[in-house]
Amino acid sequence: MSIAATQKRGFGAFLWDYITTVDHKKIAHLYLFGGGFFFLLGGLEAMIIRIQLATPENDFISAGLYNEMITMHGTTMIFLAAMPLLLGLMNAVMPLQIGARDVAFPFLNSLGFWLFMFGGILLNFSWFMGGGAPDAGWTAYAPLSTQSPGHGVDFYVLGLQISGAGTLMGGINFLATIVTMRAPGMTYMRMPLFSWATFITSVLILFAFPALTVGLFLLMFDRMFGSAFFDVALGGNTIIWQHLFWIFAHPEVYILILPVFGVFSDITATLSKKRLFGYTAMVFATILIAFLGFMVWAHHMFTVGLGPVANSIFAIATMAIAVPTGIKIFNWLATMWGGSITINSAMLWTLGFIPSFTIGGMTGIMLASAVADYQYHDTYFVVAHFHYVIVGGTVFGIMAALHFWWPKMFGRILHEGMGKLTFWLFFVGFHLTFFVQHFLGLMGMPRRYWVFLEDQGLDTGNMVSTIGAFLMAVGVVIFLINVFYTWAKGNKAPADPWDGRSLEWAISSPPPYYNFKQTPLVRGLDPLWVEKMEGKGEITPAEPLGDIHMPNSSILPFLISLGFTIAGFGFIFQVDHSAYLILVFAGIGLALLSMLIRSLKDDHGYHIKKEELEREAD
């Protein structure tokens, strides 16, 4: 079942292998592929937005379509691109970093992926059926979302509900993995920061997503079953949606950023050849950001009219987040200080991140100043802020991580030249696109504007912004070429291409499907580095060679997700005709049946025999 073997078998077998896999490394591939696909889609939508806004009073696309475009761009990028890409990286790297053979619930891992994928596909079906995509913004404020005609918002509700359930499972899975499956000696305070970030991010997922789940249920009930949560005539209150949404969505933005903080910590230390400066402070800063992250959601609601007391409290709480984040920025700088920095593509993205994210973070603090936000709110200033943190943070981080761990994940090294070219094009394009948007906002351009008027001083800025976006697009295309090139004839990767410090670099690239032949013994922070410094260069095993227990592959996760998706279609269209209820029953039936099979049929997995392991050459 090694990679070579799968390649020799036919494409059908290859596909079947991936559809049924429960191996965290293959699930990581799936997440990267799915997330990557949606990133291109979201990027395409962004390009359409930017073309529409290239000149004043443009009519490249219609007003209704424009609203669909921004909604789908935001939703796709956040839920279907950024988060899955991050979950993919976590799947690929975290178990290796803590010396585990798999995650706690391999079956659930696969289920989580398929729920995300089907949820995303369901959401995007709205383009083709039911009268258009959702058009109430990614924030779907009621009552615009409850009154939105057609089925667009219904697709939004069910697509996110399904993919959200998948994410929640992923979170619980990582938590249990880190709690129970760390290798001997891998104490919490020896975990690499990416694993720490995975842990804290999972906590955020666990506590943030339920609020979204509830919000989506309320919205669904209002739209499909005539309840009155957001119906003012029957006593409903639309602000409830805003609270629920932001109670989820603010932690969500830290779900997007904390993992890449982990990525940058690992990369900075490795490529500066220094241990991470202030490890303990970095861990606690991560925890503190997560903790504070739950107390600040109303900074998105400063103009709702909650009153000066609430606004002040939330303003102060928000500003407090500057402190732990600052600790991180300065610790990264201090890690590099005195180091011996290798500047390759992974490091370039890291170096690009620091000033870009600092700018984004600072504009965040500016937004937190409630009275100033009365001006910024819902303008391009906010658009600029969040693209600075999300693109300059999350996307840069994902790119850094991809260049850094590509060899480990796929066994080949990405082409350096193209890597650097991608970076420079994207970096310049990014600043061109979003820097001017700060000024556009202050000059009176609200966000979600289909057109801006002539003669309002907004033409040049918007044009510059569009040009920048094209540069980014070229950068992305070159990255794609790089991926195909590497896949076809890239250099084979050694086990440890960057002189690594953590456990993942102690095993071959890509790792064998059981990860560690013998569970490693961890003797300190940066375990591989410790061994290298003591001249051994390889990890001491914690156990004698023995049988390895492995989980069985299963098609059930795919079927369960498919069932829920069919039911999703049923829910959406039963409003038009009750015959569609058949889909609801059939879909839920399929899902329940698959779950029943799962719980009734014992699945004890299988064992790789000791002899077999001995036979495999090192």
Binding site: A104, A176, F207, V214, F229, L234, G236, I240, L600
Partner: protein
């Protein structure tokens, strides 16, 4: 790991639910899940509290809620929590028969609770015309209490599946964690109900 982890007095670990890695994973996984459920129900409670006076001219909580039925439901559910404790007690003593018996009682109590809840809902709908669509209060009430009811239903189904599936096999290290996680889940449902009877019914009476 071999297929048979039958427990007998000689080979029984102290905490069969956590004796294997799979068991520990289930144990932690379910606990974490309950942490998330806390937020889920808090969101429903919050929505309910925000809307509990938004009756839009329809029936209000003071018109609707009687205490007798709710008291009975509460006693039933609290007792079922105790019966599942007994079941776990017998599991740790490796007394499979008694465990099954107590679990059966738990399921029966759960079903009685559900029956009363269904009766209660129909009563409101038929006698007061108070529905999910009457007002924001109606929507919030049925959603909160209904989601709890849904959790009870799911719990009963889960329990039944476990009992039937393992009826012939007896206890082993493979299924002990499953029984244990079920019992955790069941207690949590009880916890949620404690807040429901307090916040919805008792506070609803107080006005």
């Amino acid at each position: 790991m071999s297929h048979d982890h039958s427990l007998n007095p000689e080979t029984m670990p102290q905490e069969p639910e956590k004796a294997t890695l799979e068991g520990r994973n289930k144990f932690y996984g379910l606990w974490f899940f309950l942490g998330g459920e806390t937020v889920l129900f808090a969101s429903f409670f919050g929505t309910y509290i925000a809307l509990r006076n938004s009756t839009a001219g329809g029936p209000a909580s003071t018109d609707l809620f009687g205490l007798g039925l709710v008291f009975a439901m509460t006693m039933i559910l609290l007792t079922s929590s105790l019966t599942s404790v007994y079941a776990m007690y017998h599991m740790k003593n490796n007394d499979f028969k008694k465990m099954q018996l107590w679990l059966a009682i738990t399921a029966f109590l759960g079903l009685s609770f559900l029956a009363l809840e269904i009766y209660e809902f129909t009563h409101y709908i038929i006698d007061y015309g108070f529905t999910f669509r009457s007002s924001a209060f109606g929507s919030a009430f049925y959603t909160l209490v209904g989601f709890h009811g849904g959790h009870v239903t799911f719990g009963i189904a889960w329990l039944m599946a476990l009992m039937v599936r393992n009826a012939k096999r007896g206890l082993n290290l493979y299924n002990a964690p499953k029984f244990y996680t079920f019992s955790l889940y069941w207690h949590f449902i009880d916890v949620v109900w404690v807040f429901i009877f307090t916040v919805v019914y008792l506070m609803g009476r107080v006005g």
